[in-house]
């Protein structure tokens, strides 16, 4: 029973990791750079979600009409995705586009610094106190043979799987997706074929940030306490998951995110819970030793432009 209970929790954490990892993975495959600001975009997304949800709740209270909770949540997710994608595009415009021809490591540094600015900016604007996310939907609990499942957990897992499936289809089937795949294949020649590099890059950041916003809101639904440094812990783990999944693989990033969730939940069953990070990262290290390019990544030679 404990096993199945942990399985549910692992699926939930895996959903967060997977959604964030997708953003890392897409940017990494198309622009070949580590978007170290992504964890903080997740944080910003959660805060934007908080703002939108609070505003919506206040609006319905003012207009004296009651929207069902799930509708408010869906609206919150959509509006926040839209708003956060602008944050992502802004980060790309300011931090990465001017550095497109510079060494990739320099772009990674700007990303890191933008992350610090986002955290500090948040601290300055909203202060250091933690903010609790409004609870939009009632928690209802189901007992399935001794395993406690809440509707929130089911929703989180379903939403994240649906979104990564949608992203997979988008990349496989649409013209934009084809342009992205081509760009990931050859960054230098494809723009010469008339594919607009800047627009594709902006789109990539927009999609990644939108997914991060969804992750932030779902995180807020599950653990309704937000703080400005929440992006650091979750973000860096998701980054590792993205690499583990393999360059440019949506399926890989999703699976690796869930795998990380599983490792984190099942290690405390056997070892003391303080060993969680130690064992999680050691397993990742071992996997990378035997599969250097991740689960689904093709071997490639990165030209380090230094």
């Amino acid at each position: 029973m404990v096993f199945f209970q942990n399985l549910i929790n692992a699926l939930q954490w895996g959903s967060f990791y997977a959604l964030i990892a997708l953003g890392y993975s897409m940017v990494y495959s198309i622009l070949m750079l580590f978007n170290f600001a992504h964890g903080d975009i997740f944080m910003v997304g959660a805060y934007i979600g908080f703002g939108v949800a609070t505003a919506l709740v206040a609006l319905t209270a003012m207009g004296n009409f009651a929207l069902p909770g799930w509708l408010v949540l869906a609206l919150t997710i959509l509006i926040s995705m839209f708003l956060t994608s602008f944050v992502g595009m802004f980060v790309e415009r300011v931090g990465y586009r001017p550095l497109r021809d510079a060494p990739r490591a320099s772009a990674a540094i700007t990303g890191l610094m933008i992350g610090i600015i986002l955290e500090t900016g948040n601290l300055i604007l909203l202060g250091a106190q933690r903010i609790s996310f409004p609870s939009l939907i009632e928690t209802s609990t189901y007992q399935l043979g001794g395993v406690v499942v809440t509707n929130k957990k089911i929703m989180i897992v379903l939403v994240s799987i649906a979104l990564s499936f949608a992203l997979h289809q988008f990349i496989r089937r649409t013209r934009w997706g084809m342009a992205m795949r081509a760009m990931a294949f050859d960054y230098a020649v494809v723009p010469l074929m008339g594919v607009p590099l800047n627009r594709i890059a902006a789109l990539t950041f927009a999609i990644g940030s939108g997914l991060a916003a969804v992750a932030g809101i779902l995180f807020g639904v599950a653990y309704p306490v937000l703080d400005p440094y929440m992006g650091i812990l979750v973000g860096w783990k998701a980054f590792v998951a993205a690499i583990l999944g393999g360059r440019g693989s949506v399926v890989g990033a999703t699976l690796a995110g869930f795998l990380l969730g599983f490792i984190e939940m099942f290690v405390p069953m056997v070892f003391p819970s303080t060993f969680r990070d130690l064992i999680a990262y050691s397993i990742i290290l071992l996997i990378l030793v035997f599969r250097p390019h991740g689960f689904f990544g093709e071997p490639y030679s990165a030209r380090l432009r230094l």
């Binding site: 540094i109 890191l112 300055i124 590792v240 690499i243 969680r276 990070d277 130690l278 050691s282 990378l288």
Partner: protein, 433 residues
């Protein structure tokens, strides 16, 4: 620090040719003499002079804290800065230029070591006087010097080798803990490690052993990153080293005998100013020799084109592993110094925050350059201290500054410049540059 800053900006890009004409014939020795006069002036009349200007005491970090806290005192702080630092340095340096050029010309006939020792002696005297003004300055100085060593060892990997390593906080933690266990176990009556095994007076003499031990432990830890990562090229090292950093942090948190997450404290304070100064200078000297040696050139060749380097009989894998372990060793030494300077370490401090600071220092100063590391470490750590009155806004300004540097000089301020001691200390002629 003062003098190095001036020197560098002069070697760099001063647009105005008149200024260049004015400073061109001034050798390093004169700059040092000028700075020495300035700090002596501050030492003897600084406090009383500051009080006549209406300041409570002499400004500690070039007046920044005063200017930011009390804008009404800006003019006094600036006056102080000009009269105590700027004017004496310029005047003394210019006036002594002829004499010092003669001295430098004489010294050039003697072994280089003698000249270098004279310069370093003067530099130490300057730093000694400067930091004797307050305990705060002394601490800032020590941690800045340690930051220089850390930055240089990171530059070795990120700049000279051209890989993106994230594991430096991990190496530093290994060095800090190893050396702390050594000194605490042998020389201190400690709750965990029991009574001292060796007499106290022996301690400071064996402190270098502790530092080397810390470095060696860090290098052995680096082997765990190096062996799997250097089989292929690419972004592999970045991920493995990141995972390694988290593993080290988590491992130390779970080791109860070094205090776990609570950390380890009460290290003997042997990392005082002279020890830190000598260790850091030694580190700079050895690392500079390393990067200018055949091995260092091979390292640059591997970075620029691994296949070509391989064809030219460079053993690429061995070169990379050697350099990586070498960098890790010095990070471990810096960690040992850090532990004995702060006298308290905990695993939480060797995390993402430290990584971000280290990377900021390397990329701000400049890749592939010893000058760059010195400038980067000094400017970021001094800036961090100077902007302290701004509290949170400090963490907006410094990142913004770094982003601007990255956009306009993507490899850092003083990148790809060789640190040639001989060129630095030789006499200057007006026709130079």
């Amino acid at each position: 620090m003062e003098s190095t800053g001036d020197e560098l900006s002069i070697n760099g890009k001063l647009k105005s040719s008149r200024v260049r004409e004015f400073v061109a014939p001034i050798p390093l020795l004169s700059w040092l003499l000028g700075a020495l006069v300035a700090v002596a002036l501050e030492h003897y009349i600084g406090t009383s002079f500051a009080q006549t200007l209406g300041l409570r005491k002499a400004p500690m970090l070039f007046g920044f804290d005063i200017m930011l806290k009390q804008p009404t005192l800006i003019h006094s702080a600036l006056t102080y800065l000009v009269l105590i630092y700027f004017l004496p340095i310029i005047v003394v340096a210019r006036l002594s230029a002829a004499g010092m050029n003669g001295l430098a010309a004489i010294l050039i006939d003697y072994p280089l070591m003698l000249t270098v020792l004279i310069h370093l002696g003067m530099l130490y005297a300057i730093l000694h006087w400067w930091s004797n003004m307050s305990l705060y300055r002394a601490d800032v100085l020590r941690f800045t010097l340690i930051a220089v060593l850390l930055t240089l060892s990171l530059n070795l990997i990120n700049g000279y080798m051209g890989e993106f390593s994230c594991s430096h906080p991990g190496f530093m933690a290994l060095g800090a803990y190893a050396s702390s266990v050594f000194t605490l176990g042998l020389f201190a009556d400690d709750r965990v490690f029991g009574p001292a095994l060796l007499p106290q007076w022996l301690g400071p003499y064996l402190f270098p052993v502790a530092l080397v031990l810390g470095g060696v432990v860090a290098a052995v830890g680096a082997l765990a990153v190096a062996i799997p990562s250097f089989r292929t090229r690419g972004d592999y090292l970045a991920i493995i080293s990141l995972a390694f950093m988290f593993i080290v942090k988590s491992l130390i948190e779970n080791l109860e005998f070094v205090g776990g997450p609570r950390g380890l404290g009460d290290q003997p304070g042997w990392a005082n100013r002279p020890v830190v100064f000598v260790t850091v200078v030694l580190g700079i000297w050895i690392i500079n020799n390393f990067v200018r040696s055949t091995l260092g050139k091979a390292l640059n060749a591997v970075r620029d084109n691994e296949m070509a380097a391989d064809a030219m009989t460079v053993d690429t894998r061995q070169t990379k592993i050697t350099a990586f372990l070498f960098g890790a060793f010095w990070a471990g030494v810096a960690g040992g110094l850090y532990a004995h300077a702060l006298r308290y370490i905990n695993p939480g401090s060797f995390g993402i925050q430290m990584l971000a600071e280290g990377l900021a220092m390397v990329y701000f100063g400049g890749l592939n350059s010893v000058y760059g590391s010195i400038v980067g470490a000094c400017s970021i750590s001094l800036l961090g201290e100077m902007l302290r009155p701004l509290e949170l806004f400090k963490w907006i300004i410094i990142p913004l500054l770094l982003i601007l540097v990255m956009i306009f000089r993507p490899t850092g301020l003083i990148a790809f410049r060789e640190f040639d001691v001989k060129k630095l200390v030789r006499p200057k002629q007006a026709s130079d540059r």
